[in-house]
Assembly symmetry: C2
Homo-oligomer: 713 residues x 2
């Protein structure tokens, strides 16, 4: 009796995806995976040098998968694979998928680190996975040296090898790399790792086998620049750095920047150099913190409002300052980072996301990319408020999405506020005020316990905890040296919002935003018609002086929140909706502020508080998404053209709506979800004899004064 013929195919199952197929004998696991759409990492593409394609092989009897034989399912490690395992710590059951061939049924587990498309999860309200598939990719090749008979150029032989091994035809080499190519190729002994951008251009060449790949995602705000340094192989954020936009020195708001660029000699060059200098500083800082060098960074994605976008690209923002506000370019811009003056890898690419309109920029496109309101169900209305010096709004769902901009002013970023500061260590980010005693409890960035728990002594909590001059000197010296616990240094955006909301709920502020003269408190002091309220006593402050919130601060917050609220209301009218189902509050204004406080001061229209989420620097997250996934860049281009820009702030009705929105909320019918809170605040005001309403005429007069006053300041 003859033996049955050996099967020519065997069942191979890949986990965790569960994909499976019958695979011909002799197929490598790498090829088998590829055939099933299981993407296994393999930088060296089968040369058994990179070790990225490690899989855990579980040989045996798996009747569930139809695997019924039980031994010698794979070819044994050959010389090269053995060599790899000799120089690397061996792990049980591990094999290089490129090196072993199917000889029987197999269950193969692809560990996280060997999966070609890694995912990172965004920590945000709209939690979504980002597939890591960046625009830059590494390829490792080995080329033959030239000979007297074959003097073809190093690049030509490298290009031929990249085409043959990876199908990368029509590749070009960034000509700036030509000068160092021969030295690098020889330093690597004809083994080279190249960084390829969009399968089109080689933008970096390194000797030998390399696997590090980094990129930057940047949100250029009018007041704050935020930068993420990302590992483009894992998608991880390695460091995040931010700093004040140095252009603030040439104008607080967008229109004053436009005016500076237009009217000063070298105005544009000054603003452009300022932002490029800040970006280079931030990049150097981020690289140093992550212990890499700047020439390891080969990709940067930048977003910003339209004016920031134009100045970044060295485009005069003239047209953005006058009707009809047409930009020079709306589409995404790809260019060499060096042509912007950025000091990264010499061949590094820069990608600037598209803008929507003259007043809604690439930052709003990035917010869409991060929050995807275009995926909202057709029966829900989403409102996204991106709080910045220029506030931006998105309203709608998958059927129709409108965007608008609103001149918020920089108050929410801590600018034009007496003790305002950026969200950095020492900034008061949370505030609670006892509505009876008016005692303040706050939290600063960088210190876990609230101020009420700081304990007595030189960093004591009590207002009456006496501090000797010697103690005070020591505290100040320690603060200067960075020693001792962190004290309050100022107030950041979220702290200001909470402080105003708490003061209003405590009955200290009237609906028109004035400190009530009836209030008697050691924290409240008057200078003429204006007052200031102490949040942190001198001993709680790193400067040794009290940190206060003033009448003017409240006014600045009112102007900003009225711009956001009125813009949102006009957008709602345009879309024909009378409520919103979900609100996302984005912005780089500090920690995640409390939804209730945002609604109490009237930043956003009424909504179910459970459906109001703060999502942090959403524009920066969108930039990061575009950095990590090249397909998302195309998605951004599509979204930028699909969204419907509405010029609400240019409508004549905007001014009325704005004035209407200036008071702090006190009409319960407009805020049904806040009815209890507002009623309690009103009760407190009544108990203290504080005015609860202002006549229409008085209110308008007050408003005019506020607007004029703010403009003159």
């Amino acid at each position: 009796m003859s033996e049955p013929a050996a099967p020519t195919t065997y069942r191979v199952v890949f986990q965790p995806s569960g994909r499976q197929a019958d695979v011909p004998v002799g197929t490598t696991l790498l090829d088998a995976g590829r055939a099933m759409g299981v993407e296994i990492e393999a930088i060296c593409n089968g040369r058994q040098t990179c070790g990225k394609c490690q899989v855990v092989v579980e040989e045996g009897f798996f009747p569930k998968y139809g695997i019924t034989s039980a031994a010698d399912h794979l070819t044994a490690p050959d010389g090269r694979e053995r060599q790899y395992w000799e120089s690397h710590p061996p792990l049980p059951g591990r094999r290089l998928a490129c090196a072993c061939e199917v000889q029987g049924g197999l269950l193969v587990f692809v560990p996280e680190e060997s999966q070609a498309r890694k995912q990172v999860v965004r920590k945000a309200a709209t939690e979504r996975a980002i597939v890591v598939d960046p625009a830059v990719r590494l390829y490792y090749v080995e080329i033959e040296p030239p000979t007297l008979e074959r003097q073809l150029g190093d690049w030509d032989r490298l290009a031929a090898e990249l085409a043959a091994r990876f199908g990368l035809t029509n590749l070009r080499l960034d000509p700036i790399l030509l000068g160092s190519l021969q030295q690098i190729v020889r330093a690597g002994d004809w083994r080279i790792t190249v960084t390829v951008w969009q399968d089109r251009e080689v933008i970096r060449v390194q000797p030998g086998y390399c696997e590090e790949l980094y990129g930057l995602a940047v949100d250029i705000g009018s007041t704050t620049i935020a930068m993420h340094l990302c590992d483009l192989r894992t998608g991880a954020v390695l460091t995040t750095a931010s700093r004040m936009n140095p252009q603030v020195a040439y104008g607080e708001d967008l229109m004053s920047r436009v005016s500076y660029a237009d009217n000063r000699e070298d105005g544009l060059a000054t603003l452009h150099s300022a932002v490029i200098g800040a970006l280079n500083d931030l990049a150097a800082e981020a690289a140093a913190e992550a212990d890499i060098t700047l020439d390891m960074i080969t990709d940067i994605v930048l977003v910003g409002n339209s004016v920031m976008h134009h100045i970044l690209l060295n485009i005069p923002p003239t047209q953005l300052g006058q009707s009809p506000f047409g930009p020079a370019v709306s589409d995404a811009v790809d260019m060499k980072a060096r042509d912007l003056g950025l000091k990264l890898a010499p061949g590094a690419q820069a990608h600037v996301l598209p803008i929507e309109a003259g007043h809604v920029g690439a930052d709003n496109v990035a917010v869409m990319l991060a929050e995807r309101p275009d995926l909202a169900p057709a029966d829900e209305i989403w409102l996204i408020v991106d709080v910045g010096t220029n506030g931006e709004l998105l309203l709608g769902n998958s059927q129709r999405l409108c965007s608008a901009s609103s001149p918020t002013g920089p108050a929410f970023e801590g600018a034009q506020i007496r003790h305002g500061m950026r969200a950095a260590a020492g900034a008061i980010e949370r505030v609670r005020i006892d509505s009876e005693t008016l005692e303040v409890n706050f939290k600063v960035i960088g210190r876990d316990e609230w101020s009420a728990d700081w304990g007595p002594g030189r960093d004591g909590a009590g207002a009456d905890a006496a501090e000797t001059p010697a103690e005070r000197r020591q505290r100040k010296r320690q603060a200067l040296l960075g020693q001792g616990p962190i004290l309050a240094a100022g107030i950041c955006g979220s702290g200001i919002i909470e402080a105003v909301a708490e003061l209003f709920m405590a009955g200290v502020l009237t609906p028109d935003g004035r400190f009530a003269p009836q209030i008697q408190s050691p924290r409240l002091s008057w200078q003429g018609a204006k007052a200031e309220f102490v949040l942190a006593w001198p001993h709680q402050s790193s400067t040794g002086r009290p940190i206060v919130i003033t009448s003017d601060d409240v006014r600045a917050i009112q102007l900003g929140k009225a711009a956001l609220y009125s813009g949102a209301r006009l957008l709602m009218e345009r879309l024909g909706v009378d409520h919103v189902d979900k609100v996302l509050l984005a912005g780089a204004f500090g920690s995640y502020i409390d939804a209730r406080h945002a609604m109490v001061i009237g930043m956003i229209p009424d909504a179910d508080l459970a459906k109001v989420h703060t999502v942090g620097n959403s524009a920066g997250d969108g930039a990061r998404i575009a950095l990590l996934n090249k397909n998302q860049r195309e998605e951004a281009r599509r979204l930028a053209r699909w969204v419907d820009y509405v010029a609400v702030a240019l409508e004549p009705r905007f001014q009325d709506a704005f004035v209407e929105a200036l008071p702090l909320p006190h009409k319960y019918d407009a805020f049904p979800h806040l009815a209890d809170v507002l009623a309690a605040a009103a009760a407190r005001r009544r108990a203290r004899g504080v005015a609860d309403t202002v006549s229409a005429r008085e209110r308008r007069l007050a408003v005019r004064r506020q607007v004029t006053g703010a403009v003159q300041e």
Copy 2:
């Protein structure tokens, strides 16, 4: 009886191409032409503004073409066409092809200036037409201004219009142009002319309708840089400028440049800056002469030998100086001219032709493009000798073509020659020596009459025409001021070759290149073993000093010609041929030298003199061809990889062949086509008692001395 139905198509014939077809009624002549492959110029693409599509319409009865009706064959000029003719001189029978529609049979003549693909004829031995189809092209568009409702970027609207009207999809804009776009678009009142490179990238934007388009073709020789400024619409050469390569200061030959780049601090940067500076100076000079500005130049094609190529691209030439002489890149390089440091249009493109091998560069590829030896019939052997500091050779035909390089030295370019100079005004370019009297008759560049006809006086011809000191001072002052007739200033390459050949034929030089001591002449004087022979007397010279040719000059020429000859012979051996059917002598060494003189000194192997042609700066012509026609750039890439590089100068046999080739030709059997000339020279030597042969031993000793001497000098 009803009338017959009107025909729905009519016969339209285009001349001079003779293309014809039956065309539907209502088709514009432009579209009809396009459908038949008749390319009519139309920058505005049918907007009736550019007037480029003018055709001469010959209506009537042309039975030969089947045109049998005789009136109203075209629609009448409409408002816009009438407007065009009102503002331009009307020409009889002329119509705008884009504006008139077919209504009957037509004979249409497309004048030269309306043909989209113009041709220029190269004035050269291998006379061929170049189709003008450059890599840069102009497109005129009109775009809609933005509105408050449609704030799409200017570039986006421009790109959409270019896609819609010209099918230019996936165009990108050079990001450097973003900054000026809005101003230009508004200056042109939404009418714009863009320059597009390779249908891929907009590299220049101009307001309004423009039609000027310019480019540069450059040959960077080791000693001489030559530049053509071309009108890219007609193909015409507007100006040609050349100057000494300033790198000469850092080393005469290629290997000394490589050594300078490798061993000096900033050596490469110094050499690179030198050539870029010279290119910028030449471009400015050419632009000024053609009365255009540098920013009107949008394309530049550069060629040069491999070392010049690497230094131009800022690539260390280290590897080119050591075996196996592998270049960094062989393929053509496209890059921004600005990235090379060239000051042309900000978005201008640079194209560097491919190189063949470490020692045969882009200049040789350009020579192939100009002379097309690859098209030589299979039964002919062509030899192309490109005379430069590094001589380059091509041998073969359409079946197989070999290339080689040979270290000629700079003598043929007038360098390392006592009174040598570049081919510029005042250079002696032709020389005739009376074999009896040894009287010299010469011609200088920039003056039509030969020196024998210069007449008496201060610019007199006779050696005995006395010049008073006053006359001499005035002549010198005039020469300095550029006044008065041009006098001899030095000798350029062709003058040196002719002088050596004439001296040899006159029996003044021995076959081993020494001045014969038997000669008695006021022109010949001795200093020890070395002699010098006066070509121009002081009164014929702009310096007031005699212009001479020395023993060392003859020796330098011998070394150069021996390198070329021995290289050619070894290539012939490699190809297995014993003769060549056609010889092309290329090089920027002055005027077109006489084939007989070149052969008399033994620069080239024996050939039928009627088949030896001098073709001038063939590498420069090849660069111009690649500038004028983008398809020729692809052809150059193909040729560079197809040609078979032979490292003859590295073969050990080269040294023997070189020594063998050093004497001036005196063996009749090696030069059957020169037998009469060589016999006459031998007869003169015998008549004067001058040695006619040297013993093998003596000759070799002399040769060793010459080689060593030349190296030490």
